[in-house]
Symmetry: C3
């Protein structure tokens, strides 16, 4: 009888072990969106990823003993509304990494991942850098400015870098967190999406307070010696009845700069959570031989997030974006061709399912 039982347990344990070799997960997120752009009218659409980008994740970890572990992470972004990959030529666009991690010395991670400055900005955005309320609506390579000067319309390092090696601080260093990232240019060009990157992030995360700073420097054939720099500082405070954040992020390239400010709040309200953000982006200096002073945009956003379960939620978001100067930024999903200085308004209601 004991023998039989032992066999049953082994079978069950084997099952459990096999599952942890590869863990399959992801997000399916769809929303109904309506965007109105000044002078252009209103557009309605079904969108993917109003609250979190739809994705599929394959990951796994192996305990090597002695506090060491090897792990991999492959993350594919997708447009649930059309069935297309988020990036046509880069299936695993969100993350593709291999790590060797020590509990005491930290993690060595190789591959494609977020740059330090992005990680240091998006965490303070209550809308997580997606949807009609995202701070990404103001961070774009379209307007003449440092991003466009440094990368053109090629892949840039405002969010992620390919070909990167990182060291990430272990947990347990008295609340400190952070890391270093280095990517070689590999002889490539901006057009091939290859940039030389050096970056670092350092932060403190306590129970009621957190603060962090990051700096990322990218060079390629378009920047020449005038590197694109991306600096970000942010803080958040847990007030008990709410959580508040504030962040500053500045892009510079040669004589052009873009300065971004963000103030955010998460407020438990009724059965869900209210989210608020105010974001501002301002250009300064000159780019492409002309002054870009006075160009910029402001956006406020208001959202409500309601958990149906641990894995599923309903959400609704409103946002309003006002351009300044010649800027024509807009909430995504509207009709293009707005005149400089116009306003864009967006609203969406959606479902986010984590699996």
């Amino acid at each position: 009888m004991k023998t039989l039982l032992a066999f049953a347990m082994v079978a069950a344990a084997t099952g459990a072990h096999a599952q942890t070799t590869v863990t399959l997960g992801g997000v399916a997120d769809a929303a109904l969106r309506q965007v109105s752009n000044d002078g252009r009218g209103t557009e309605r659409s079904l969108v993917s990823g109003g609250n979190a980008t739809s994705r599929l994740v394959f990951r796994g970890s192996e305990d090597l003993g002695g506090g060491l572990a090897a792990s991999f992470w492959l993350e594919h972004g997708l447009a649930l509304d059309t069935g297309s990959p988020a990036q046509a030529a880069q299936f695993w666009d969100r993350r593709s990494t291999l790590s060797l991690a020590s509990k005491t010395l930290g993690e060595l991670r190789a591959g494609r991942d977020f740059v330090p400055s992005y990680s240091n900005w998006s965490r303070y955005d209550p809308f997580g850098y997606v949807g009609v309320g995202s701070s990404s609506n103001l961070i774009s390579a379209s307007p003449v400015g440092p991003i466009k000067s440094a990368f053109g319309s090629n892949p840039n390092t405002v969010v992620r870098s390919s070909n990167a090696v990182q060291w990430l601080m272990p947990s347990g260093w008295g609340g400190l967190e952070g890391g270093l990232m280095v990517a070689a240019g590999e002889g490539g060009t901006a057009a091939t999406g290859q940039h030389k990157v050096v970056g670092a992030r350092l932060g403190y995360a306590g129970d009621s307070f957190g603060v962090s700073a990051a700096h990322t420097r990218s060079t390629n054939d378009l920047t020449g010696d005038q590197a694109f720099t991306d600096s970000a500082i942010g803080a958040q405070l847990n007030l008990g009845f709410a959580r508040a954040s504030a962040a500053w992020r500045r892009f510079e390239q040669d004589a052009a700069a873009q300065t971004n400010l963000l103030v955010g709040a998460w407020v438990p309200l009724g059965p869900g959570e209210l989210k608020l953000s105010w974001t501002r982006a301002e250009m300064s200096g000159s780019a492409a031989g002309a002054s870009i002073d006075g160009n910029g945009a402001r956006q406020w956003a208001l959202g409500y997030f309601y958990n149906l379960s641990k894995r599923s939620a309903l959400y609704g978001t409103l946002s309003h974006l006002d351009n300044e100067g010649a800027h024509t930024l807009a909430v995504p999903g509207g009709i293009s061709g707005m005149a400089g200085g116009g306003s864009s308004r967006g609203v969406e209601i959606g479902i986010r399912h984590t699996f």
Copy 2:
């Protein structure tokens, strides 16, 4: 002893639970095909999906309580013979949806999926709209007619629509089934694969008899106000010794129409099932400034399907397609360049493995 046993059961149950978060499945189907086209000779090839399109499916469901469930479905079509995605730019071409479903009120489904008229036609095709015997051999955007007028060679809505929101009737409404689909054009064009779609399907499925009707209306920059309409009516009858089906489907756009007829049968025979179909497509009216009357094609197909197990089967199919007028339709896999009005013959034997 009971404690140990309980542990074993928990471990096993945990394993089972973890598996249901994401279910991985699909179809691998390969066949040897030979196609002869009048005046062009014979071509032999290894093909993917003679009985069912080769695919990989990631799906999952979460019980939200109270008869509610959230679920997702990502389905990738692939060419097993070459390793290529079925659609180069649309990895999840077959289906990518997020649903919120109630046992009593039905399912809200968002994303890319079959249009109502397609669902109402393919179910009556014994060959499931794939292979040498498929009714799809007669439904093509190549001949001048309503499909070509409405979509050109761009993605069309004859099978699926992106950007769609559906309501699907719950089971248990006295055998009734059906649903509604709406997709906004999203400001796009036929060239970007964005069409405005409105459709509905209603059917009755009993033990020995089923009947259903559907209508789907698509508009884009090519159709202008002269929408492409796709109407389908079908019925099936279980005779005990066999199952028989008949269906009618008509495409219209401006002055052009294509009318399709299908008669099918599934006959248990020996250790497997015999399948038969007769399909006819007729053009009428005018398109691109000229009459298309008298153009069309007829096809008959005969197949045998033999289950090796619950998940694996062998199959063989014969088909013969005769064009009328200027039509040059052909069984897929042959040598192109047949003259108008010619005949095409196909045969294939294959294996279908469901996983």
Copy 3:
């Protein structure tokens, strides 16, 4: 009590069964590489797959009873450093097959897979045809020669063939192994990656000695009647303190030939294994109207492979490649534009994690 126990075992077994429907596995491999090319300087990069190509595998098998099994295999190659598929248009580039296998009669396999001559060469390469020490550094479609004549820069059959049907010998035929492959041209051209292929492999694998030979013949619109032939013979010997291999492989097309030689060794040393190889490629005859005699290259490589666990390993490899005549082959990852006859040197250290 026995009832409960039986239930536990069924639950565990059910879990195990469901898992074997689809098995998910793969390799994540990343390395830091430095390559120096004569007159061009040194390039550093993060690369994917220094020891084994990074990949994701979906596979499964169903026991049909009577010694028969149906199975599928989908294998996707990826660049872990950038998150891109290894082949943009062919997601399942490494293998996509459906099989029906008998324990006594062997396996029928349909789809995309290695050609017999490749399988008969790569197994004798201690570096497995990847990384700075790979014999693939000398087998390229770039130099004027039989590969370029037969395939241009289109997909070739030096490694794999699409649209193929194979018969693979069962195990247990007294140590014999091998198989046959046939692929129809399917009316395609070299530009569409469709080649007509016929190939065979036969070998003997004993405990201390193995020998095998293969021949693969490919034709397409570029070869005309002058087929591209790929012959390979190899042997390996287990000496106890080391394993040694030697192989010969010759490509011919019309008047052009490339002859490759390989000598390899695997030597257990300390906690890991030392690997050595010497490879030589020589052109002869004429191609594109000119003599190619005297063109070629030689390479030696030295590596050390250290297992961290059953699934994870560290490795380091050094290689040196010398061109002869007008050849400009190089270790991958260096700066292009080397003059004819130059040398290329590579070194890499990396991690390989199997999951």
